[in-house]
């Protein structure tokens, strides 16, 4: 009995610590970051994306502008973050959007398939449609997915893997 009670206490404490760590990690500002990412020149068009719609996943979320401060990537808990140092969606280059993997946010994103459509509505009411070309799982140090590009693409990602140690990345190209 003594052994059983000690084991239960040990398991209980371990699970509480684990739960506490999950909560900390869930709101950790570094959770969605990539390591040593060099920002490139930003767009100055003034166009800002305001809403993202992924019909195949029934996702419809507001987009909020975000910046990188040191190693910390600003991330909204109310929708999807748009890295303002990247081009606006629809402009030439690699537009970067990201969000938490919460069920109410981009949790379902891992079910997206190449060929699915992503729609972005901007503050000028323009609607741009992108078609998913690639999905991949990368490590946070693999920043090449965020590198600038000569085409018009959208990179949308969320956290994945054991303790959010990976990034699930969707690469979509504008539908002409």
């Amino acid at each position: 009995m003594n052994f059983l009670s000690r084991t239960l206490i040990l398991i209980g404490v371990a699970l509480l610590f684990l739960g506490g760590y999950f909560i900390f990690q869930r709101y950790n500002s570094k959770q969605l970051s990539f390591q040593n990412f060099n920002e490139y020149a930003s767009s100055v068009s003034g166009i800002l994306p305001q809403k993202i719609i992924i019909p195949s996943l029934k996702i419809e979320l507001p987009i909020y502008p975000a910046k990188i401060r040191g190693n910390s990537w600003e991330a909204t808990t109310k929708g999807v973050s748009y890295l303002v140092s990247s081009p606006a969606p629809g402009e030439v280059g690699n537009s970067i959007l990201y969000g938490h993997n919460w069920t109410s946010l981009l949790g379902p994103l891992t079910r997206i398939k190449p060929g699915d459509k992503i729609e972005i509505i901007s503050n000028n009411s323009e609607r741009k449609t992108f078609v998913v070309e690639y999905t991949s799982i990368v490590d946070p140090y693999q920043t090449s997915v965020l590198s600038s590009a000569n085409d018009t693409r959208l990179t949308l990602y969320t956290c994945a893997g054991f303790l959010d140690s990976k990034r699930f990345v969707v690469t979509a190209f504008i539908k002409i």
């Binding site: 239960l8 209980g12 404490v13 990690q25 398939k113 991949s136 799982i137």
Partner: protein, 206 residues
């Protein structure tokens, strides 16, 4: 008690020594870009054809592009007709010692004694396969964006038992913090186990 501490200390010393021994042999792994946004210059590109994958005896049909990243590194992006993608990172390892190569092989790299049969230089290479998903050539008739190039078709060449890496869709939800219900379950289970353990302990004392 002292014996236990002593054995634990010895175990820790052995573990740390073996870890540092591995570091001595460790080689710095170069950076490889991903097929979603490949860097470097296109070495060869085929819109269709049959291709091989190192470490896998099967042949695969699809679109294949090889990017030269540096003098010693290449990335091969193979998008199969069924939408599965296989990225193969090629690393020329002429300068590595046998011990370093063995450490990397134990980490999942595949040793290719000569790259000649894969359309590369006649030098030893290490190859690593990573899975991704792509818009299959049959869906869109070619690659999207700047990643496509060249044309024509191929059979064999760059680009045969297991494909390594993480398949899209695997391990994605494992202990990730996205699901609050899962996190609450862990906390409630912990609280329950702790309460039960304390109750049993109190009963025993009585």
């Amino acid at each position: 008690m002292i014996k236990k501490i002593l054995s634990l200390s010895i175990l820790l010393i052995v573990i740390s020594l073996s870890a540092s021994a591995e570091k001595v042999f460790a080689a710095e792994i170069p950076n490889f870009s991903t097929c979603a946004n490949p860097q470097g210059t296109i070495k060869v590109s085929y819109d269709s054809g049959t291709h091989g994958v190192p470490g896998n005896s099967n042949t695969f049909s699809g679109r294949d592009t090889v990017y030269s990243l540096s003098e010693d590194t290449l990335t091969q992006c193979l998008c199969l007709d069924n939408g599965d993608g296989i990225q193969t990172n090629w690393w020329k390892v002429s300068s590595l010692t046998q011990d370093q190569i063995e450490v990397l092989v134990s980490q999942g790299w595949i040793f290719i004694p000569s790259g000649a049969s894969w359309g590369l230089q006649d030098a030893p290479y290490l190859a690593q396969n990573v899975n991704f998903s792509c818009n299959s050539p049959s869906n869109n008739g070619g690659g999207g964006g700047s990643s496509s190039g060249g044309g024509g078709s191929s059979s064999g060449g760059i680009g045969g038992s297991q494909v390594l890496g993480i398949s899209t869709g695997e391990v994605l939800g494992l202990a990730s913090t996205g699901n609050i219900v899962f996190i609450l379950s862990v906390i409630i289970s912990g609280f329950s186990a702790l309460s039960l353990g304390l109750l049993l302990s109190l009963k025993k004392k009585k």
